[in-house]
């Protein structure tokens, strides 16, 4: 029961503010609603006992990436933001695409609900309660099984950093 209340609380915030983020005219408002979504998602991670991902989400996503976004919006945002037409012309295409995707996933859920034991078995699978809920487990996995991807990710970040500096630097 408590689990359910917490989940629906965070899920409601996440979906509601994601919808607002897509529809707000002002980019800063969009960013604020995206922050709300990310924080709610962090709450869901915490409910899933993924404490480390929770704090990484908050430090990196919210405290790092979103600050960067807001910084750039402030640098770039002319006062014209309020005068613009919000949506591009292809909004009908978007509607069709999303409707098709929704229908697809809805069909999946529907068939699973209709035929228990068939179709998409994971939806009804019982959770296993043997995950050690701590940062040490993630660290051990990260530095043993996934050491090579970890190093590649660090190289990726380095490349991105250099790329961003080169890109944003004024040509003199």
């Amino acid at each position: 029961m408590l689990d359910k209340v917490i989940f629906y609380f965070f899920a409601g915030i996440a979906v509601g503010s994601a919808a607002l983020m897509v529809t707000r005219r002002n980019a800063v408002h969009s960013a604020i609603f995206l922050i709300a979504t990310l924080l709610a998602t962090a709450g869901i991670f915490l409910q899933l006992r993924a404490e480390f991902i929770f704090i990484v989400q908050i430090i990196l996503y919210v405290g790092g990436i979103m600050v960067l976004f807001i910084f750039v919006i402030m640098l770039v945002n002319l006062d014209v933001a309020l005068l613009q037409i919000k949506f591009a012309r292809q909004k009908w295409v978007a509607l069709v695409v999303t409707l098709a995707l929704t229908a697809q996933v809805g069909l999946l859920f529907w068939t699973t609900g209709k035929m228990p034991g068939q179709g998409f078995p994971i939806l009804t699978a019982a959770p296993v309660n043997r995950l050690p809920p701590n940062a040490e487990a993630v660290a051990k996995s990260l530095f043993s099984s996934y050491l090579l991807p970890f190093e590649i990710a660090s190289v990726l970040l380095l490349v991105a950093m250099i790329g961003a500096v080169v890109m944003a630097k004024k040509r003199t």
Partner: protein, 100 residues
């Protein structure tokens, strides 16, 4: 833990909202933010399955995705700033020349 379907459904909803944002918005910065939303939806799935199977690998991949999102945001915003210096706009519709 609730049945995994709840988490998958939430993830799907966020993913679709992100897709709508990417396709419809004109402001490139908001498009980038929608992409972040999509990546975040994927993360929910990974962490939920990590809990379901009691395997920490899902969380490790969520970490990689967050690192990837950081790299993408840095480069993307760098491009946007460079573009804004040259063309004084951040609207996707007006980015219609390959070279100038």
């Amino acid at each position: 833990m609730l049945p995994i379907g709840h988490y998958l459904f939430l993830s799907m909803a966020l993913f679709l909202l992100g897709v709508i944002g990417v396709i419809t918005r004109r402001n490139v910065i908001v498009v980038l933010m929608s992409i972040e939303l999509i990546l975040n939806a994927v993360n929910i799935n990974l962490v939920a399955f990590s809990r379901l199977y009691g395997d920490v690998a899902g969380q490790v991949f969520a970490l990689f995705i967050i690192a990837d999102a950081a790299a993408e945001a840095a480069v993307g915003l760098g491009i946007i700033i460079a573009f804004f210096r040259n063309r004084e706009t951040v609207l996707a519709d007006e980015m219609d020349l390959l070279k100038w």
